[in-house]
Assembly symmetry: C2
Homo-oligomer: 481 residues x 2
């Protein structure tokens, strides 16, 4: 297996060749990757490889891998499956080490021919000591080295890595995260995994100084015990979040059709999560929701203050937290008394949930309310519910007030005088295009300020619950390495 | 208890008095209701009642209920709790029957004074034979009679009724539904339920010709056995969807603080749902998601065709359906063969889920694909996954194509040549304000055309699963009335 430095030449290449890039724009193959890599601002040498065209998009093209003027650091293969074995042989001859095979049409087709081809390339990869991502995948996305053959142009670099057997998931997550101002260190889509495996990427990322949280979407795993051992070790230092696809009967059939992997058994994966303490997630949104929570210093416990407005809404929030294993303790008598000095009894409740509609419309009251309630020793964690789109009043004055309230909450969270863990959840008042657009902007505002921002109370509670569980696991397993 | 006709005078009043309306605009009391009722276009007589002002917002005001020139059909009380008993006495004297008490500050405060006041008004209501909604609630919302003291202005009338112990939920749901072009027959927010109970509204709605689906948010129920009997009977004719708040420990404490109700036990409610076949929902979005599914003719079974693009996305969809108790059968060999005549093996899968990215970009292929796959006898239900916001191409040409594809799918669903059940789910490619706004518009387009449109695959699967379960329950219990 490769050590970390060997994979560095793949993640930070000085030259790239794209086999199958053609002069005709459009299409979803080599030309697509070439365009994206140019767009992303890659500053190294770019070599299109095309058996017919002498020039591709302004770059001199080469008829095959053997004709390149140097052994390039990274090769993307995007030609039909039948041509891949010979290209890999050429890579070996040319002294190339790192290859991404975008091409599909291998084991995942379920056809005899595809399976045979996959066996063949696996043999070549082993024999040549190639470091191969794929086949049947979108490859690597490394904002720092401006190597992003992805649909979504990176807006920056971040500290989250995503290792995904699905390229679509990689692209979706990138787009989804950027909407919240969150960026990645590296994303790796590795499809059928004929060459490098999840464990290889994990080992690399464990020591990667740019990565502090590792997230994964897995369909199948080759070496279960090595993987388990590795995750258990890494998870102590960098949280490992895993979405395991295909654990149902229908899902496991879909996995076979997608990457030809064996999805494995639900019980084995239950045991894996129990043993390793890795954080189990169930969707892309979930990955991001939980990853965001790791911005925060560890919560001291699971007792939540729910701050918002609306009686039904408060009941819903309390039910949600309870179902996620969080507690919603009654505030101390002292705090309640102090709150009721300026919050009317009628129409409000200061017991917790704080159903304090009027307070949410007045910064001074809100400040007093938060200072008193958040300081209460029965509270560890705070969820502030932000309504987006006022149905009573959409005047500029009201919008200005809401903006000021958001600014105040962010400032309060950043100062964190009381050393509690604070997150926000949006709650859409209305479902118009304008409200939906505002909600994205409000969330981004909080998230980029380091305050985890959720699309719903359910998501906020779920994320917090897993953050707390992670730290509880680490505390309980500190000495049992 | 009131028969249906007696409540008609409340839901379709010819005159309204608002006690506590004042000349000062703003605030959240009688003036708010007056403004909203004027805005909603109520054409009957409007009488502000105010002990000090002779005129309120252009209407002649009256010092008290006894001074009104006629026994009005409907009174809204929005003055402090202490004044409510006397106003109710005046209503009786004035020959008024229907009252909405907006005022809060009763049993829900947890204070002795509030509890005593609530006992007092309960006694007056009984003695006077008043039909009272509330106290501590937003009252009624009836688009057909232009009586909507709500923050959200109605955009039309619909066939869904919502009976809710929370006014906030009523307003949120109205706003949320209107974003999808869905409207209501009646919404009733009834708070502490000192007068009319959930069962009274249920009985009324059972015979209401404008209502075909009844949805409820409940915190507590007074007469459990009568309620159970009623729901069981009504649910046969009109689907009854119930969100029960406060079934967790934290939630039940929040219920006490909200409407002073007793939330009841989880197990008793489990038994209630098992006995009645009422549909259990868990949020406002859930209510609307399931209600939308009842647009459709009953599915013949639970075998789903998943149509979309992306391998990881297909695995996720299959897992989701399986977890919701739906089946994702492999398409018949014949259908697969016919599909592979024009869909390449590499990069696609036609087994089901249909991972057919290219087909989703070409109307002719999509038509052929849908005609073949939907016709397959192994399929009962279809979920079409629509990506919103193309990360590769946001050109006008691409947008035009996506619009045409949406139009085609809607037409396909409306014709319903194959007599299958079709819904769509959005899947956001990106998370920008623009994409979020588009997603709302795309959903509205489908939903207003009668094609249930969901914000995620999870929500689509959950809604379908409950639609199917409802019909299965009815089929199994047909003769056991």
């Amino acid at each position: 297996m490769q050590d970390r430095h060997e994979l560095d030449s793949m993640f930070y290449p000085k030259s790239v060749a794209i086999v199958g890039a053609s002069p005709n724009p459009g299409g979803f193959g080599g030309t697509f990757f070439l365009t994206r890599i140019i767009d992303s601002g890659f500053s190294g040498a770019i070599y299109p490889v095309n058996s017919k065209a002498p020039e591709v998009q302004g770059f001199k093209a080469y008829p095959d891998m053997k004709s390149l003027p140097e052994p390039v650091d990274f090769v993307i293969i995007a030609t039909p499956a039948g041509t891949v074995p010979q290209i890999l042989e050429d890579c070996i001859t040319a002294g190339v080490k790192n290859v991404h095979i975008f091409t599909s049409g291998f084991g995942e087709t379920g056809e005899e021919e595809g399976r045979r081809l996959e066996e063949k390339i696996t043999e070549i990869i082993r024999r040549g000591g190639l470091q191969v991502v794929g086949p049947n995948c979108m490859g690597i996305y490394v904002p720092a080295s401006k190597l992003t053959g992805w649909g979504v142009k990176p807006e920056g670099t971040g500290s989250i890595a995503f290792v995904s057997q699905s390229g679509g998931h990689g692209e979706f997550l990138t787009g989804y995260a950027q909407g919240l101002g969150i960026n990645f260190s590296k994303i790796i889509s590795y499809g059928n995994a004929s060459g490098l495996q999840a464990v290889d990427f994990l080992e690399y990322l464990a020591d990667d100084p740019d990565t502090s949280i590792i997230t994964m979407y897995l369909e199948g795993i080759e070496d279960g015990s090595r993987f388990t051992q590795l995750v258990r070790t890494i998870n102590r230092i960098k949280p490992v979040l895993i979405w395991k696809g295909g654990l149902t009967e229908s899902g496991s059939r879909a996995v076979v059709a997608h990457t030809g992997s064996l999805a494995g058994e639900g019980r084995a994966w239950d045991a894996f999560f129990a043993q390793t303490g890795a954080i189990r997630v169930f969707s892309l949104e979930d990955i991001l929701d939980v990853a965001m929570a790791f911005y925060l210093t560890p919560p001291r416990g699971r007792r939540v203050l729910l701050l918002g407005g609306g009686g039904g809404n408060s009941v819903a929030a309390a039910d949600i937290c309870d179902r996620e294993g969080l507690e919603v303790p009654r505030l101390s008598e002292k705090t309640q008394k102090e709150l009721n000095a300026f919050i009317r009894l009628a129409g409000n409740s200061v017991r917790n949930p704080l159903d304090v509609w009027e307070v949410m419309e007045n910064i001074d009251s809100l400040r007093s309310c938060m200072e008193l309630a958040v300081a209460d020793p029965v509270i560890d964690v705070v969820i502030v519910d932000r309504h987006v789109g006022n149905i009573y009043d959409d005047s500029p004055t009201e919008k200005q007030l809401q903006q000021e309230i958001n600014d105040f909450i962010i400032e309060f969270a950043q100062k964190n005088t009381f050393n509690k863990t604070l997150v926000m959840s949006t709650n859409l008042f209305g479902n118009t295009p304008e409200v939906a657009a505002s909600a994205v902007m409000v969330r981004k505002e909080f998230a980029t300020a380091g305050v985890p921002a959720y699309s719903s109370q359910v998501n906020a509670a779920r994320a917090l619950s897993r953050l707390i569980k992670y730290h509880e696991f680490q505390a309980a397993n500190q000495d049992s390495a």
